[in-house]
Structure formats: structure tokens, C-alpha cells
Symmetry: C2
Subunit: 540 residues, 2 copies
């Protein structure tokens, strides 16, 4: 089976396309794909539909490593005027359709597979559909630093038996370094002597570690676009940002590499990737889960939490890790979560103002569906307070603490951190003691107001302004709106859960519930009740 019968002009087009791939000649590649909305291109990262979506993706991908075409198989499918019954055309004519399936051999080992449907349009052979399998890597380094089967075995029985954990690279695992998303930091780190209790609790319950997953540098980002290791794929939306800073655990869970993401949330680092990738994500009450063995970003707001694909798993994890019986790592007496939370919701108006129209509509539809359900909860609009003021106070204290934690290291390692995170630290370095003190005062009254709101009801609102932005989008505006939505719970130290209840233009958006401090397990129960009521159809 050879390429002997490929029409000459088709072979030339195929060869020219292959040269353009290896050279990463974006214009040439664009020109080889048929224009219009019907053109298809897919790989392990997902399926892109339409020439423009395909073109947009190319800018992100970078070139392919050196390779040769080892085999080409040609199957004529249609001639301009008729389907091909047998034989092969010597000369091609307009409207001809042909299948080319080729195997590429990479010089550095490994093989790839390309399936292309070509059509002759206006005298040129163009690709109308392509399916690409690149050589398989040993691991996806955008998601994982290290991964195993298992990476570390947990107890052979327990309530989390059989589940696997992606550990964000901020937690101590005995014998391993903490990398914090930065290769220079990793290089200089020393192996940890003791496993963080948040990790040990999971192991003791029978969960096993799948591996150490990527984080944005020092967890100081919500985008998930680590400049050193690349951007992990969004498991729900092709070509979209994964959300950060718990990007690796989130993508690992979304893609089925692990069942539980052990993560941290300072300003939204669990809730944002949960919303972007259609996951459940719980930010716990501040100081509920002890943070020994976790690299801090800003101690006043740092919390530990989990990402899962479903509410039942998150419930099991929270039940174990937050209950007095199960956990050696928490001092929670479980009492506050023993009672159910009130079935009564507050919609904070200022937060809703940050939400994009399509997402706001989906959220309204969900509330309407709830109101029309068998178990309609009361809803009431409330004022969450000035979000600019909340965020400013939050950012000031966060920055001051982050600089105290990492400033010395950053000063000693100029250029070691990516530009966006470096700029954030630079701004943080300018914060004065007076500014910090004033911000702490502001936070006290902000927290008091929010605590009052959730005393007898639960806040409900979309987790983020809208679906995950495409990786090609300018994310600064989204970032500002997002942090205004996620900062209040962080500023008040309240538990917050993101539940994948909305679908906007085919992409998931989370609904965030915020409740009283210490009611974390009850919050998960409430979220499951809400999700069961909304069902899979509501809010779409």
C-alpha cells in the first residue's frame, strides 16, 4: 500500500503542507485549510470547527519537532462528477475529494498519524477535515511535574480508597521538593522532610497520589498560563485558559488523570479553574485546614481545598478531611457543619454586575427554574458592598504578605519569574506599612458585613464573569472583573463552593455559594441539593 497512485497535484499539495507544518508557516497552513464554517480539525486537545477557529489555534501551538513522512495512504473518495467506484484518477478535477492518511516518524523517536480529507476547490487542493495524533509524550508537562501509577500509594483501605489525587506543586511530600511553578525555585529547593497534613490525610483515607501538578508561579495568578511549563489544556473548552493558579490539578481532574485535585485558593485559585473547566471546587473556611507544609502566598487569605468532577466525590473528601474523626489535620469540631444550612439565598447585586450578559441570563434562567421547582428556595437581592474597595483592601494585604514571603527570593533571582507575575510582585513591593494597616482596617468592616449577610442565608452568584477566555484573548479586563467577584469570600475568610450548573455558549460556568465560616461540609451538602434540583438541564 503506497502512495503510487496519488495525483501529482495532490501529492504536491500534501508535501507543501507538510513543509509548512515543519516550518510552522502559519499563513501557508491557513491557506491549506478550506475557508468557511464547515472545515474541521481535531486532535487530543479537542475538535475545532470552522476555518477561523482552526486558524486561531495555530498561533498558540508552535511548530512540530523534526519529522519525516513514513507512509502515505491515498483513497480517492469522489470525482468532480461522481463517486469513485474503483481505480484512481490520473488527473484531478475540481470537486474531487480524496483521503490521505499518513504516518510521520519523528527524528527524536515516536510516530504521529494524520488523517486528512482533501477537496479540489477552484483548482486547488484544500483540507476540509483533519485529525492529527502527534507523537505521545511521556507526560503532559503543562499539567504535571511528576506522575506515577501511582506516584505514591495510599492506605489500602479507607473512605477514599481507589481515588487518585493531583497535588498542586505547593505542598510538601516527604522526599520531594516544592516547585511552586518556577524552575529556578525548584532547582534550589531541598527535599521536604515531612508530608503536609493535607496530603497525608488523603493518603491515610486510601486515596493515592497520581502526581505533582503544575501551579501558576507562587500561586500568584488566576489565568493558568505558566510561562515556564506552558498552559495546561482546558478539559472542557478547546483552546481556552484552564484557570489558575490551581491549573494543573484542575486540568488533571477534568481530563480524568486524577479524581481529586488538592489545591489552594487565596483569591480564587480553586473557584476560577473549577468554573472554567466544569468542576466542583471548594475553598474552605480560612484557617480550618491547617497549612503546614504548604508554601504560603498570603497567610491572611490562603486556604486549602479540593477540585472534583462530581459533588459526591467532593462530599466524601470534605467529610473525611474536615471531620474531627477523619482528619489529623483539622481542629474543626464538625459541629457547625452538622446542621444543614438554611435553604435561603441572597444574590449580591454588585457581584452580579460583573457578570457578562449571556452568563447573567443563564444564571437568571437557573434561578427561575429553581423558583418553579418542587422545592423553591426564597431569593433576595442584597448589597455585597463596594467591590472596588473590597478588592483594593484585599489586594493590598495580599501583596504585602506575598512580598514578605517571596520578596527576598525574587530580589535574589531577577528575571527568574514570568513578566505578569513579576509585575504583580513589583507592585506588591511598593506597598507601605501604612497602606497595609489601613487596608486591614477596611477588611475588618468588609468581613463583618459579609459575615452578617451569610448569617441565616447563603450567597449565590456566578463564580466568574463568564466562560473561560480563549488563550488568545486579552484577559486583563476579565481578570479585574473576576477578582472583584472572588475577593469578597477571600476577604471574609468564608467557605465558597463553585458548582458547574451553567452552560453558556457550550462552555461551563460555575455557580458560587458562600456560607458561614466553618459550615464547609454543610455547604457541600447544600450544593448537592441545589445541583440535584437544577438537574443537568436547568440554567442552560
Amino acid at each position: 500500500m503506497t502512495d503510487a497512485t496519488i495525483p501529482g497535484d495532490l501529492r504536491n499539495a500534501f508535501d507543501a503542507y507538510e513543509r509548512a507544518i515543519v516550518a510552522n508557516d502559519l499563513d501557508a497552513l491557513d491557506a491549506f485549510f478550506a475557508p468557511g464554517e464547515d472545515t474541521l480539525r481535531g486532535d487530543g486537545g479537542g475538535l475545532l470547527v470552522g476555518h477561523d477557529a482552526i486558524s486561531g489555534f495555530r498561533a498558540l501551538r508552535g511548530g512540530v519537532p523534526p519529522r519525516e513522512i513514513a507512509e502515505v495512504h491515498y483513497r480517492p473518495l469522489a470525482r468532480g462528477g461522481e463517486a469513485v467506484a474503483s481505480g484512481s484518477p490520473e488527473q484531478s478535477t475540481d470537486g474531487d475529494i480524496a483521503l490521505l492518511v499518513s504516518v510521520s516518524a519523528f527524528r527524536g523517536g515516536g510516530r504521529g498519524l494524520q488523517t486528512q480529507v482533501w477537496q479540489r476547490i477552484d483548482g486547488r487542493w484544500l483540507i476540509v477535515a483533519a485529525h492529527v495524533t502527534p507523537r505521545t509524550p511521556a507526560l503532559d508537562r503543562t499539567i504535571w511535574r511528576s506522575v506515577g501509577d501511582p506516584f505514591q500509594q495510599g492506605a489500602w483501605e479507607g473512605p477514599l480508597e481507589g481515588l487518585t489525587v493531583a497535588v498542586k506543586d505547593l505542598f510538601a511530600i516527604a522526599g520531594f521538593r516544592i516547585g511552586a511553578g518556577n524552575p529556578t525555585f525548584l532547582e534550589e529547593a531541598r527535599p521536604e522532610k515531612v508530608t503536609a497534613p493535607a496530603v497525608a490525610d488523603l493518603l491515610r483515607a486510601g486515596a493515592s497520589l497520581r502526581g505533582i501538578a503544575r501551579t501558576d508561579e507562587f500561586a500568584y495568578s488566576i489565568a493558568g498560563d505558566n510561562v515556564h511549563y506552558g498552559t495546561p489544556p482546558n478539559g472542557a473548552v478547546v483552546g481556552a485558559l484552564p484557570g489558575g493558579s490551581s491549573s494543573g490539578p484542575a486540568s488533571a481532574v477534568a481530563l480524568g488523570h486524577a479524581d481529586i485535585g488538592l489545591a489552594t485558593d487565596t483569591a480564587g485559585s480553586i473557584r476560577v479553574p473549577a468554573s472554567y473547566q466544569g468542576l466542583w471546587g471548594l475553598r474552605t473556611t480560612h484557617d480550618l485546614v491547617p497549612r503546614q507544609g504548604m508554601l504560603p502566598l498570603a497567610q491572611s487569605f490562603d486556604t486549602i481545598g479540593w477540585l472534583t468532577r462530581d459533588g459526591e466525590t467532593l462530599h466524601r473528601v470534605a467529610d473525611w478531611c474536615l471531620s474531627y474523626d477523619g482528619s489529623a489535620s483539622t481542629e474543626n469540631v464538625y459541629g457547625a457543619s452538622g446542621d444543614d444550612l438554611p435553604w435561603r439565598f441572597l444574590v449580591p447585586e454588585e457581584i452580579l454586575d460583573c457578570v457578562e450578559p449571556a452568563t447573567r441570563e443563564a444564571f437568571s434562567r437557573m434561578l427561575a427554574a429553581l423558583a418553579a421547582s418542587d422545592d423553591p428556595p426564597p431569593f433576595r437581592a442584597v448589597h455585597s458592598g463596594d467591590l472596588d474597595a473590597t478588592f483594593t483592601a484585599f489586594r493590598t494585604v495580599q501583596g504585602a504578605e506575598a512580598w514578605r514571603n517571596d520578596g527576598e527570593w525574587l530580589r535574589a533571582h531577577p528575571g527568574a519569574v514570568g513578566p505578569a507575575v513579576a509585575e504583580r510582585f513589583r507592585a506588591a513591593s511598593q506597598i507601605t506599612a501604612a497602606e497595609e494597616a489601613a487596608a486591614r482596617l477596611d477588611l475588618e468592616s468588609i468581613a463583618a458585613h459579609l459575615a452578617e449577610l451569610v448569617d441565616g442565608a447563603v450567597l449565590i452568584f456566578p463564580t466568574v464573569p463568564g466562560p473561560a477566555p480563549l488563550r488568545t484573548a486579552d484577559v486583563d479586563a476579565v481578570r479585574a472583573a473576576t477578582l472583584r467577584m472572588t475577593a469578597p469570600a477571600a476577604a471574609a475568610g468564608l467557605p465558597a463552593i463553585s458548582v458547574p450548573l451553567l452552560t453558556v455558549a457550550g462552555a461551563p460556568v460555575g455557580v458560587c455559594l458562600v456560607s458561614r465560616a466553618g459550615t464547609d461540609i454543610a455547604l457541600v451538602r447544600l450544593a448537592r441539593r441545589l445541583a440535584a434540583l437544577v438537574g443537568s438541564g436547568a440554567g442552560r
Copy 2:
């Protein structure tokens, strides 16, 4: 873009095919693929051509995890009598050709992509080409136990800087257990305190560890089909055995996951996978590379060596690891390798008798090409001695030592080892002291004869009887012939290199060179000289 316009009978066929996939109904799946030699099916493991090849593969694959079809995109390509210009047929007719590209969403997370070209033949829609991307796993557990980016960083400079190593799961890495290809053994193992010198030498030279790669259980096999973790893919031949027992390192190197496989060869465990996967593989002189920190199989024959994709890399590794200057792990004074080996070859007739006809022909063509080259070496046929006797003596001593090493553990863990390896150990347990002593005596004269042969010339012969057997083949006969070919060098403790110089029916077969004890580096040099002369075209 939806599936609204798919003809009803095509949609029914697609749905029925999907049900058959999830149910792993092999007969139904076979029936959905068009008969004949033109049908194509490919995935990351490679491309299968022809209905029978596709059908044979299915038996190996097992089912797919639970999933739903999330999207289907339909593109009519040809109608029975004409190419499709626009619009879509409401009813399909014979000869119609259609493209269906579908996205599957796995219940356990992750997505897959299927591209199928369907053709209506005799009233039934059948698949004439398919390209499948399953959900990507965190790691390929058939190849790897643990993998990282890097798994362990080597020195930041050195002669092997930038190269990555797949370490066979028989070597100690400080902080990690040795798994030996058996999950029960791994479970009970304790973390190693000291890294094996063979590993440390590579790290010190700047290579980094990519991870811990799979081995056949206790290295007591040459097939590479570990019953616990599955069979690693052969990087060169779709659906073929990878070769063992160094299966994981070999597949990792062939697929480009790592540059160097650190492996062991007792009876052929480096040479066999090298030949099967088109790699360079060096079994070193017995006792040249100290084996501290390596789990033994049979101390009289155990050796350490390396697998690479090219001769230059193997040369660099051998130069460093075997030279007095570079290595802390060897006592070789390098002297024996300072001189070149004689450019004079001996073809052992009894070994050649084990070779399959097509491979023997390819080998003869290669010898003829060498004879006609600018630098023709003299060749002479010699007698290697009775291979049955050699193998019997080898197997007796190997078995006795293997049982002394692992017998106690095996007795304490009935059922913990796969049937083929268990049977091998059972036979080993029957060997008497008298039989072992007699076999050792036999080995002395066998080794003396072989040492005499390689004193002034180099043995040359195909490494194994032929290309890697398909995983569906009955491999017992091949195994017997293979071990008769690989045992002599092992019995005599001689260095042996397998060089990928032959191609038989599209598959690689190695040429084995065996030289005087201690001439390992010179043997690599000689192999490179030979490979340069043969070039890429000779021997095919």
C-alpha cells in the same frame, strides 16, 4: 453545527457501532469495517491497513471506559452517482460516502475524538477509514511506573547533559522502592537508601531521569508482556511485542519519551527489545559494570547496559560509564577498549540456523553489500558449538540462581506472579545441586570455546530469529530459538551489541556483534563503523 442532517440509516449505523465499542462486541465491530485490504484504522499506537489487521488488533485492545457521544459532525462527501457539491441527502444510496467526526465524553473525565469515513456498500453503511484519539492518560502505565519532567534532575553540565533516562524498575533510586515488575513485590518493598551507581553515573554526567520504566517480572522473560501492567507498545511495529525484559526502557526510548534506557541483560533482555524496536542495545561484559543496587536475577550472567535510538548516543554513554575517568561505578581501566577491535568477522553457523528465512536473506544481502563496499572486512563461517547444550547449561545455572534469589519470596506469595514467569520459577525450583554443578562445568568449556573465537575476530549474526512477533502470535517457538541465539554471549560473559541494520517486511531486526571481554567501548566503535558502511539502505 449539529448532526441534524445525518441520513437516518447512517446515524443508526453510527449509534450501533458506538454501542458495539462500549460493549466491546468484537464481531459487531468487525462487521462495521469494510472488508478488504484498503480499510484503514489508526490511533496513537499506529496505523493498521486492511480489515484483517484491524480485526486482529481488536482482540488485544479490550473495551473502552463508559462514555457518551458529545458531538457529531456530518459531512457528505459523495453520492452514489456524484460528488456532493452542497446540501445533504435525505436518503442515502449505495456508493454514498460520508465523513462523521465525533467527540466522546468519558464519564470518568476526558474526551476522545473519532474521525470515520463511511461508505454505503450493498445497502449497509461501513467504515472504510477511521482515526481514533482516546482520552489521553496521565501516563502510559504499560511503559512507566513513574515519570517526571524531570523525574530526577542530573548535574547541570556534563557529557550527557540534556539527555533523559528511562530506568528499568530493577535499580535502586534513593527514596524509591524497586518494583521488579510485580505489584505485590513493590507493595512490600522499602524505599532504597542509596542510588545504584549505574544510575548515579548517568546523573553525574548531566543526564536526567525521565522515570521508572516497566520490566517483565523479575526480568525473567524476553517477551515484554507483563500481566499486571500490560504490554508496552512496540515503537516500531504496530501490534507487535516490545521485547523484554527491558520492555519499558525500550518502548520509552523508541517512542522518544527518553533518550537512554538503563537496562539489564541476563539472557537477552537488552538485545531482544533492541532488535524488536529498531534500537541500539549494548549488553556489557559480565562484571564490568558493578551491580550494586540492582535486583539480581542470576548473578553469573546479570549485566547492565543501555538502549538508545542511535549509535552516537550509545557511544557517549559507554564512553562515560565504562571509562575509568568518568565512572565511579566501574573498575575497567579502559585499556582493552583503547585499541580498535579487528575488522574481521565470524558468522556462527548454528546461530544462523535459528534464523527465519526472510531475516537470513536480509542478513546475507547485508554481508554481500559489506563485501562489495570500499572497506570490505573478511568473513568466515565458524561453529559456535551445540546451542541446545549451551542453552541447557545456561538455563540450569540461571534457574538455580534465580530460585536462590527469589524462591523464598515466591513461596511466600503464591499466585502473585503471572503464569508464564511462575512456571519458569517452578521449573527452576526443581534444579538439583548436582545438575547445577554439572551445568557449571559445561559452561566453562563453552565459554572457553567462545572466548577463543572472539580472540582476533568479532562474531556477527542477526540478534534474534526475525522481526518482533505480533502480540497475538504464539511466541513459545520463537522464544526457544531466540534464547539459543542470545545465550552464548551470556554464557561466556562477553559484550554484545545489537545494531538495527536489517529491515524485514518493514520491521527492524538487529545485527548482533560479540567481542572479547572488556572491549565494550571498542565494540560500540566497531558497530558504528559497520553501521556507517551499511548505511540506511543495505540489508533491506
